[in-house]
Symmetry: C2
Subunit: 110 residues, 2 copies
DNA sequence: ATTTCATATGAATGATTGTTCATATGTTCA
DNA sequence: TGAACATATGAACAATCATTCATATGAAAT
């Protein structure tokens, strides 16, 4: 007969967050899981930039950048403000920076 | 004529990490960007567990869990040790916990 | 040795996703 | 009002990826 893990799981089970929350967490990290979006976030690390500046910096089309900015905005990772024809994007909070910083540490330490 | 962002980009450009590093960073977060793997990491948050215990806990097949554990191991997010037939997995370092914690904060604060 | 249990792995499939292209929206200026 | 610029968006296509199924490896026990 297969072995039993009721004991081992009893505690862990009670500490598991709700499925919906774990799903949201996965969805959040999915947004970080793309080089283009990482580049965009890095570009906004110090200061806001307009869409076409971002596009020029990372060497992608305006359309591609715009699509990705939308994904970042949906995840509340960037915010924007309009100034005439131009729209400036910035990081929306400090979590972005600390998540990236932790990831950076991880890959540079191994 | 389109507007110019040489000034705005001059500083940012010099601060951008190498492309390869940004790629690695995206690849790392890609591993976090899946509910099954998030569940696995959460399950290992406090203590090591064997593969079949994880499978039972999160309600997935042994095969699926094994595949995902491999992805986690490739990214150095989990480590394993063998004890007879059983293989126990654990989180490999503190970055895992802090990255998840930061993500958690982000989604619960908005 | 062979059976049983624990885990790993390869191939296949269905679903998700990033980019491109064409075009739409919104703003300014003449 | 119309032209030019900045950005957004929808559809389509290619590529990536998670799960399943079947099977392989590895270890213990009888």
């Amino acid at each position: 007969m297969p072995h039993n893990h009721d004991e081992a799981l009893k505690h862990v089970k009670s500490e598991m967050p709700a499925d919906e929350l774990l799903q949201d967490l996965g969805d959040l990290f999915k947004v970080f899981g793309d080089t283009t979006r990482i580049k965009i976030m890095y570009a906004l690390h110090e200061d806001e930039l307009c869409v076409c500046a971002i596009a020029e910096l990372i060497g992608m089309t305006q359309s591609a950048v715009s699509h990705q900015l939308k994904a970042l905005k949906n995840a509340n990772l960037v915010a924007s403000r309009r100034e005439g024809k131009t729209i400036y994007y910035r990081l929306s909070d400090e979590h972005v920076k600390s998540i990236i910083a932790q990831g950076f540490e991880h890959i540079t330490e191994n």
